[in-house]
Amino acid sequence: MIWTGILILFCLIGLFAYYRQLRYGLVVTHMGDYASWGIYISNFVFFVAISLVGSLVTAIFRLGNIHWSTPLTRIAEIIAVSAILFASFIIVVDMGRPERLVNLFIYGRIQSPIMWDVIVISTYLVISLLLLYLPLLPDLKILNDQKEKGRGWWSRIYVLFGGFWKSNARQERINQKAVLILSILIIPVAFCIHTVTSWLFATTYRPGWDSTNFGAYFVSGAFLVGAGAVVIAMYVFRKVYHLERYITETHFDKMGKVLVLLALIYLYFNVNEYLVPAFKMKKTEEVHLVTLFAGDFAPMFWFSLLAGLIIPAVIMLFKQGRKPLPMFILGIMVVVGAWFKRYLIVTPTLLHPFLPMEDSPERFKHYFPSWEEWAIAIGSLAGVLLIITFFVRIFPIIPIQETIAEQDATPEK
């Protein structure tokens, strides 16, 4: 209850900040004509990134016949749904004229990467919702059957969404087939959402963005942060709902190994992203890279790289490092590091334009978010957590039916 209260409070503060922004304009932010995108956009990229994990755990693992991950699918999927939902909210928040959102549908230009993003994000949201919903059907029946235990008016929701599920063979066959199709479909769409998001930057000329590596760099980073988020959620749900029987130490161990793999892949793309331009030191890239490596942004840069990537990967190489508590801490490090990483992708580049920053108000030459920006960013993070919190209050976070089937199939467990 305290938890929900705090989250609601943060959301309300964020809403109040947004009200101020609507009233006075984007001037309440500290963005300027140079840093014309700020933490709203980095937050957006962060949400899109985190949402990718839904496709990793539910689809890639499912298609790869990896069974241990079954109890984690719903965690991953609800994270995906709520994150992508807030990604779309936050992009509206960033708009100078949110009331003209409808122009995207009236005057939409298919040439614009923003249009592509609108299309793939809405598609991904629908697929994720379906992937959340379809495996939930059998569980809704189980919950319905337990009605007499008195879970109050929730049961109405269960009836509304799943009252028609009778667990007959034909229904199950259709459902399984649908989930299979979705699992295949979500993979290219998931790659698309983050690749297209990376193209919002990579289709420009700016140093630090003008990279052919960007799509792969973004996607690999997204899998890492998403997996980190799942680990955090696993730990919390396990503790709060006493799910030790279902989310076992083995799960943490295996997720640890997955994280190491993902971290190595991401590291590989990081090396490509920074070392190759740094070797050449083209004039336009130089200022940018020097500020990252040794300038104003260096502490954040090295923090995100070391604490958010290298150190967790090294620790998780050891078995002791893959125990639940260390995994939880490392998960937080990964996610926090990833958030700052998105900040570093968006802001420093904008502060290093091709032409000098002159004939512009002094305040445009630097960027540090205003309280309104922080409040909205934190509010949106709280919003994501709030959706997850409400979801787990209403629905089982462990897919009951699938987990039972899974455990039946592997009797030694």
Partner: protein, 295 residues
């Protein structure tokens, strides 16, 4: 206390200084500059232009709504051509009404006088211009592969058109925002015959769709003739195909002009994915139906 005293003293001095400056500003007389010029476009209907402005610092500010009267030859009620009022550019344009035909025809030279009304801000200002009726004619000669422009200036003397020598004329090719000099020089002077001959060297200059452009010749604020202007269309230019790249499909074109490959790619992907999704929705409906029938 001491501080407060100091402050109030300073304030008194400041306010005094302010009062003085305000007073000084009031007393400073504002002078209006009024100018009248004579214009003779295309050898047809001449007009007079009155401009009113004020010098503020180093800039001239046009004065709007200045009222005045323009007279011909003498400042008398019978010679009043028209009442004027300047527009937002500080200008007013008047033509010579047909009623003055006898006066106009009587002489080759006339004086035009403008007198502004005295108002609250400015005193009455008078300005005049004396002009001799003049004409400019443009002729072109093409021989031995050389193009020549011949400009002739004539003035009216005792009812006859006579050649006007030693007159500075500008000869140029008319363009949208400025006139391009026909040759190396900007200004040419007429000989005793009143003519100037210029060899035309601007080859392959773009013309309109048929290769036409306009040669113009004019005197600029000539002390005797004012602003006389003439033009002649020649077919010396390179004909230009009207280009309209806005109908070209490209990534920067409007939404309706998106490249075909992009449209194809985008819509086939969207169609494929959403087709599958619609199929899945139908499947969910199917599951619902199966559930209902099972009852």
């Amino acid at each position: 206390m001491q501080l407060l005293k100091n402050k109030s003293g300073l304030l008194a001095i400041l306010s005094l200084a302010f009062a003085f400056s305000v007073k000084a500003q009031d007393e400073a007389t504002r002078t209006m500059l009024v100018d009248i010029s004579y214009h003779m476009p295309a050898n047809r209907v001449p007009y007079l232009k009155v401009t009113a402005k004020e010098k503020v610092g180093r800039n001239f500010i046009p004065l709007k709504d200045i009222i005045g009267k323009v007279y011909i030859n003498e400042e008398a009620e019978s010679s009043l051509l028209e009442d004027i009022r300047t527009d937002s550019k500080g200008e007013s344009r008047i033509f010579i009404p047909a009623a003055f035909k006898t006066v106009w025809d009587a002489s080759g030279s006339h004086q035009f006088i403008v007198v502004t009304e005295a108002g609250e801000e400015f005193e009455s200002v008078q300005s005049e211009v004396e002009v001799t009726k003049a004409k400019i004619e443009i002729d072109t000669v093409y021989e031995n592969g050389v193009r020549n422009i011949i400009v002739k200036v004539s003035e009216q003397q005792s009812g006859e058109w006579q050649p006007a020598g030693d007159v500075e004329v500008k000869i140029a090719i008319q363009r949208l925002l400025g006139n391009l000099p026909v040759g190396e020089e900007d200004i040419y002077t007429t000989d005793e015959e009143g003519t100037v001959s210029v060899e035309f060297t601007r080859d392959s200059l773009p013309g309109d769709e048929e290769g036409n452009y306009v040669i113009v010749a004019w005197t600029e604020d000539h002390e005797q003739f004012g602003n006389v202007f003439a033009e002649k269309t020649v077919n010396w230019g390179v004909a230009q195909e009207p280009q309209d790249f806005s109908s070209r499909r490209s990534l920067w074109a409007t939404g309706t002009q998106a490249p075909v490959w992009l449209l194809g790619l985008a819509f086939s992907i969207i169609g494929g994915v959403w087709g599958t999704l619609i199929y899945l929705f139908i499947q969910i409906v199917q599951i619902r139906k199966l559930g209902k029938t099972a009852d």
